[in-house]
């Protein structure tokens, strides 16, 4: 919400700008009037209770969900004009890991966005994918079918795919869910490295104990932006209580009711079938 002064000084548009974003979707809580401006080079943890709309926010930014009102801009452009500048790590459970591809195939998909239609991944693309697998220490498993990988390894493959996108802004949906401590440490190290390269990261996270350690900015979300800013300013007892303490119960009830009404009127499209 607060725009840091150094951001104003920078001439280039911010990596992510969200203005009055409202998402209404059938049986779930929704997002209301979200305003956000994420400065370049920050690593933002999106934190909030279950059903706060954390994943919804990520998906709405990328146009995976229909938006009721408001807009989002990525580097000053609508998302669909800046697709190659945004990398995405979806939730691990969002795909079927029995799918007949190996780890390398999945990482190569990260290159598809830059390839354009009719083109196959080139040798250079394969080299990049190899390097990304190496970076997440998954190169020895490149030819493994993905169902033969552990949860943490699968998550690392997803991260490698995002790295292969070579983007400037990364949106990650719960990259730490179901991974072992070693993988978690390896992932956070890679995130820091990306940040050091001037990339911007937005990471949905559910673990309050590690959040202040991992992120330099926190977005406390519960259908609305409860607080957004530097971790030390945002991560206060009052803010957390506000996000988690159920003070918004009336709002959430009204929101649910309105979502139901909307669902009766027009049907939300089911994305990603």
């Amino acid at each position: 919400m607060e725009t840091p002064n150094e951001m104003r000084a920078a001439k280039s548009p911010p990596p992510l700008e969200v203005h009055d974003l409202t998402v209404a979707y059938t049986k779930r809580p929704v997002l209301y009037g979200i305003d956000l401006e994420v400065p370049k080079g920050s690593i933002v943890g999106v934190v909030g209770p279950n059903g706060a709309g954390k994943s919804t926010l990520i998906k709405a930014i990328m146009g995976l969900l229909p938006v009721a009102s408001g807009w989002t801009k990525v580097f000053g452009q609508p998302f669909n004009q800046a697709v190659t500048r945004v990398g995405y790590v979806p939730q691990r459970e969002s795909v079927d890991w029995d799918f007949p591809v190996n780890a390398m195939d999945v990482v190569l998909m990260g290159r598809y966005g830059r390839l354009g239609p009719f083109k196959r991944p080139s040798k250079a693309d394969k080299e990049i994918a190899t390097a990304c697998l190496e970076k997440v220490k998954m190169l020895p498993y490149a030819n493994r079918q993905i169902s033969n990988l552990s949860g943490g390894q699968q998550q690392r493959v997803f991260l490698a795919r995002a790295l292969a996108q070579e983007s400037d802004l990364y949106l990650m949906d719960e990259p730490f869910v179901g991974v072992d401590a070693t993988t978690e440490a390896a992932i956070i190290e890679i995130l820091r490295e990306l940040q050091a390269q001037g990339k911007t990261l937005i990471v949905v996270h559910h673990d309050l104990t590690t959040a202040p350690e991992y992120f330099d900015r926190i977005l406390l979300l519960n259908m609305r932006v409860v607080a957004f800013g530097k971790t030390e300013d945002v991560f206060t007892f009052e803010n957390l209580q506000q996000a988690y303490g159920g003070r918004l119960s009336i709002l959430s009830e009204v929101a649910l009711e309105r979502a139901r009404k909307r669902a009766e009127g027009d049907t939300p499209e089911n994305v990603g079938q």
Binding site: V95, F99, P100, D105, R120, N270
Partner: protein, 497 residues
């Protein structure tokens, strides 16, 4: 699901209609012939049948008769299209969608026929495609507007459209121009009923399918694996999805006559499922599924040709099912047979390792002063009977892990021959004891187990620890010397020396 099952008496009655003199009777019973296996309609290709089996085979595969050519080309193209497109259904867990689609097209077939009262391939194609698209759209609509799940929606649409289709085709058969309509072929399929127009259409659809799948392979792969991700990298996921569905509808519609409404979905799913069992890569799955589809097509057409009056559709599907069963049993990685073999090999290895371990214990009891052993000693140590132990020792010798000590060959009495471990056997024995004791130590030290609780667990784990895990255990335990019971853990040097 509403599938009319072949009902024997009815079939026989239908069959008799062919020879009934009165046209009146024929009319009345022709309606039955639509929904029962059309045994009555003896395959035209087989009317030219020769006497002996081999002659018929030569006749068939020489492709001299145009009608055989049509049947083969038709079924091969159908198998090809259905195999490729079905693969996408299988990996996306949309198998029931193929079933829905194939049943939903039936009213469209009837309407297409009514268009100019003939089996015009294009009119039927358009009608059927429209009905199929409508059916799939209805499924989507029901799913979105109610809280019914997709499978229920599919089940209803499938049955509803099929019911409507049966009524419409029956009415057409009852009409004056209907009795020779050949619409009955759409139920169970007859490759010989394919006209040259049908083949043309099939050729076009096959060509379009292969071209689109080759051109958009990367896109189809991406939306099938992770549709959301595909969309975020700028792929038109929705358009691609509908494109795939459209291709699928086309494939189903052109396959109807040869395979039949009821069984088209099997041709979509079975070859793809067999391919899925055999490979872990999507492009190989497509190749295999297409090959299996084509093979089933030829098999079905051939057996139909041999057998005089069996409809092609069920035979094609049986061919595909046979291929699936073969893949299920003999598949190199996921096959039942290889699983059994793997399990047996594993059991054998564990038995060998257990014997080695007992030999190690024997030698350890003598402070390693005595390195030879007899079967009787080992039987005592393992608390087992002599014949079992002797067979275990034979296995050790066969695997070159132990050898008979020279000079004891004369020992006749059972259990008195002396053996010793080969160097290789020693390495394995030390390894296994080391694994066992390391694991016991790990459980007591790191996982806070009582030292008398750890043995049974270690008995199992010792066979599973790989060298990588062992190294990590060593690190964690800082290269220990004694196990929790105070015995020495054989060292790495002992193992390699």
């Amino acid at each position: 699901m509403c599938r009319s099952h072949p009902d024997r008496p009815a079939a026989r009655r239908a069959q008799t209609t062919v020879w009934l003199p009165s046209p009146y009777f024929r009319y009345a019973l022709a309606t039955l012939a639509i929904v029962v296996p059309t045994l009555a309609q003896a395959a035209q290709i087989s009317d030219l049948a020769e006497t002996s089996w081999t002659e018929q085979a030569i006749e068939f595969f020489s492709l001299e008769q145009p009608i055989v050519r049509t049947a083969i080309v038709g079924t091969v193209l159908i198998g090809f299209c259905c195999g490729i497109l079905g693969s996408f259904l299988v990996v996306r867990k949309l198998a029931l969608l193929g079933d829905t689609l194939s049943h939903a097209v039936l009213p469209g077939v009837a309407l297409g026929f009514l268009w100019n009262a003939s089996k015009d391939p294009w009119a039927i194609f358009i009608g059927a495609t429209a009905a199929g698209v409508l059916g799939v759209a209805l499924v989507g609509w029901i799913k979105q507007t109610t809280h019914l799940k997709e499978d229920s929606a599919m089940g209803m649409v499938l049955a509803g459209f099929y019911g409507l289709g049966i009524c419409m085709t029956t009415m057409i058969q009852n009409m004056a121009m209907g009795n020779k309509s050949g619409l009955d072929k759409f139920f169970f399929g007859q490759a010989a009923a394919l006209s040259s127009g049908d083949i043309q259409l099939l050729g076009i659809i096959s060509l379009v399918t292969i071209l689109l799948v080759l051109l958009f392979y990367k896109e189809f792969l991406a939306i099938s694996f992770d549709s959301g991700f595909a969309q975020t990298i700028g792929m038109p996921a929705r358009a691609l999805h509908y494109g795939l569905m459209a291709l699928l509808t086309f494939a189903v519609v052109v396959s109807l006559q040869a395979v039949g409404v009821v069984l088209v979905s099997a041709l979509l799913i079975t070859p793809a499922a067999a391919a899925f069992l055999l490979t872990d890569r999507m492009h190989w799955m497509l190749v295999l599924a297409a090959a299996f589809g084509m093979l089933s097509g030829v098999l079905g057409a051939f057996i139909s040709y041999l057998s005089n009056n069996l409809p092609t559709g069920p035979l094609i599907v049986l061919g595909a099912t046979l291929i699936f069963v073969l893949a299920l049993v003999f598949g190199p990685r996921h096959g039942l047979l290889s699983k059994i073999l793997r399990r047996r090999r594993q059991r054998k290895r564990i038995a060998l390792e257990n014997t080695l371990k007992s030999v190690f214990h024997l030698c350890e009891n003598s402070q390693f002063t005595r390195k030879v052993f007899e079967a009787s000693e080992l039987a005592l140590e393992r608390n087992s009977n002599l014949p079992a132990i002797e067979s275990e020792i034979r296995n050790l010798v066969k695997s070159q892990l132990a050898e008979r000590v020279a000079g004891t060959n004369g020992a006749r009495l059972s259990g008195q021959a002396q053996f010793q471990l080969t160097p290789q056997g020693w390495i394995r024995a030390c390894e296994i004891v080391r694994n066992h004791r390391l694991w016991e130590l790990y459980l007591t030290n790191a996982a806070d187990y009582e030292s008398d609780h750890v043995h049974d667990d270690a008995e199992e784990i010792e066979h599973l620890l790989g060298s990588d895990l062992v190294r990590r255990l060593e690190e964690r335990l800082q290269n220990p010397i004694h196990d929790p019971h105070g015995r020495l853990i054989p060292t790495r040097e002992q193992i390699t020396a």
